[in-house]
């Protein structure tokens, strides 16, 4: 195990976790290195959100959403897929590995999958090491906007 666990920003669509146990775990029992951002739909996630997480020092960004036909708002996740997938590859172009941005599209029978996915993602990030290249935001202690 690494001394400092990898920092993960978890963007979660509030409709994608069908099991209440999973949702309760995400809401109350997330490890401290995972920062949860709950959104009404993955379509709400602006690339700026991801950029802010990356600049704020996130070693990885995970985006949870519903499968294509299952979006609560019909097609919010379709917009998210096109845009955020391209944004991930664009970040790779300027120095933030594509593997650090991961999408997990959850389905009704995927009970308990979120924990496995997060664990697997953390293992990937540990192999990649911490991401320094774009973590440029000044910490709150020095007058910056993130902590």
């Amino acid at each position: 195990m690494n001394a400092t666990p990898m920092k993960v920003a978890l963007f979660q669509c509030r409709w994608c976790l069908y099991s209440p146990e999973d949702q309760a775990w995400v809401d109350h029992n997330l490890p401290e290195n995972i920062h949860l951002v709950k959104v009404p739909c993955t379509g709400r996630i602006d690339p700026l959100f991801i950029l802010n997480a990356v600049q704020g020092g996130a070693d990885g960004v995970m985006i949870n959403g519903c499968l294509p036909e299952k979006c609560h708002f019909k097609e919010g996740n379709l917009a998210a897929r096109r845009q955020l997938a391209e944004f991930g590859s664009f970040l790779d172009y300027i120095g933030y590995e594509q593997a650090r941005v991961r999408f997990v599209w959850l389905d009704l029978q995927d009970r308990g999958r979120i924990q496995r996915e997060l664990a697997a993602f953390e293992r990937t990030l540990e192999q990649l090491g911490p991401a320094q290249a774009l973590a440029t935001r000044a910490p709150a202690a020095t007058g910056g906007t993130h902590d």
Partner: protein
């Protein structure tokens, strides 16, 4: 006055005198010989100031969104401007029926910074004769070939000819080679992650946040830009590494499937920052993934504005 200018003036005069348009957007002669300025002609007798040469560096489509939709606009367009106009029509920023496009096959824009670097500050006039360019300074006269003075974006230009102009003046030019742009982006993509990041930081962190690139860009027409929001503050507003990088990343990303690679942003930049390597990469991705090229017609929506269930998607992984 060149033959082409005569033709443009005659056409502009016809449009204005027959009341086919309310305003003609073109370039005007200025005292600074390297900087013809965009101008709005509403009277026939103003047209004596109209010029057109290789130093006309702005993208005139930029001024489309500054007029109400009902204004009938006559506009001098080159290949890139024509595509920008098309992209703006797709985004419903103007109605195509209210536009008269005076198309000019483009020989490429001369980089005035490059001219000044080669000849010194005291340029009196620039003469273009086809493939050769003659620069007269206070002390001396220099002869160059046109190719060596071209702006980098114009060297890589794909479509020098206007594709949907109402009037076409001058002779059509051969289409550009799409490999030139691709080779440049692939060369960058083949660098290591650290080298790519170093390149990006080297470019982005010279930024002084003047937003000249935004003002010069025809596709940047939001009334309130994300960097101007104060509540919530989306990105750091100062000249800090985080703020400068966020500006360059998000400005480019907002151009995905909308940028025509005209290079107006780079020509406007007072710090000589390269930006097209970002937007070109996104453009290439859109071509490869969705076979979408910006501004080739006035109906196809850009990829991010269209949603389909059957997208090829490398991200969907079902439960293990």
């Amino acid at each position: 006055m060149t033959e082409l200018e005569t033709k443009i003036r005659a056409e502009a005069e016809r449009l204005l005198s027959e009341h086919l348009v309310d305003v003609v957007v073109a370039f005007r002669k200025e005292d600074a010989p390297l900087h013809p300025q965009p101008a709005f002609f509403t009277q026939v007798d103003e047209l004596q100031d109209l010029v057109y040469n290789g130093l006309c560096a702005n993208n005139l489509a930029n001024y489309l969104t500054r007029h109400p939709q009902e204004t009938r606009i006559g506009m001098v367009v080159r290949g890139c401007e024509n595509r920008s106009v098309n992209a703006l029509v797709v985004e419903k920023q103007h109605t195509r029926e209210n536009l008269v496009l005076i198309g000019i096959p483009c020989e490429g824009i001369l980089d005035w910074r490059h001219i000044v670097a080669l000849t010194g500050e005291n340029v009196l006039s620039v003469e273009e004769n086809g493939e050769s360019v003659c620069v007269h300074t206070r002390e001396n006269t220099f002869a160059f070939s046109r190719v060596e003075l071209l702006h980098p974006s114009c060297q890589r230009c794909l479509h020098p000819n206007p594709i949907s102009a109402d009037v076409l003046l001058g002779e059509l030019k051969p289409e550009g080679d799409p490999e030139l742009m691709r080779l440049r982006i692939e060369a960058l993509e083949n660098l290591t992650l650290e080298e790519r990041n170093a390149w990006f930081r080297h470019e982005a962190e010279r930024c002084i946040r003047c937003y000249a690139c935004r003002e010069a860009c025809p596709m940047c027409y939001c009334t309130e830009c994300f960097v101007d929001h104060t509540e919530p503050r989306w990105s750091e507003s100062g000249v800090t590494p985080a703020g400068m990088q966020a500006w360059h990343i998000v400005r480019a990303f907002h151009q995905t499937g909308r940028c025509t690679s005209c290079g107006a942003c780079e020509r406007a930049c007072p710090m000589d920052i390269q930006m097209t390597y970002l937007t070109d990469k996104l453009n290439l991705d859109m071509i490869d993934a969705y076979q979408f090229e910006v501004g080739m017609d006035t109906t196809t929506q850009p990829p991010f504005a269209t949603l389909t269930l059957d997208d090829k998607n490398r991200f969907i992984t079902r439960g293990k």
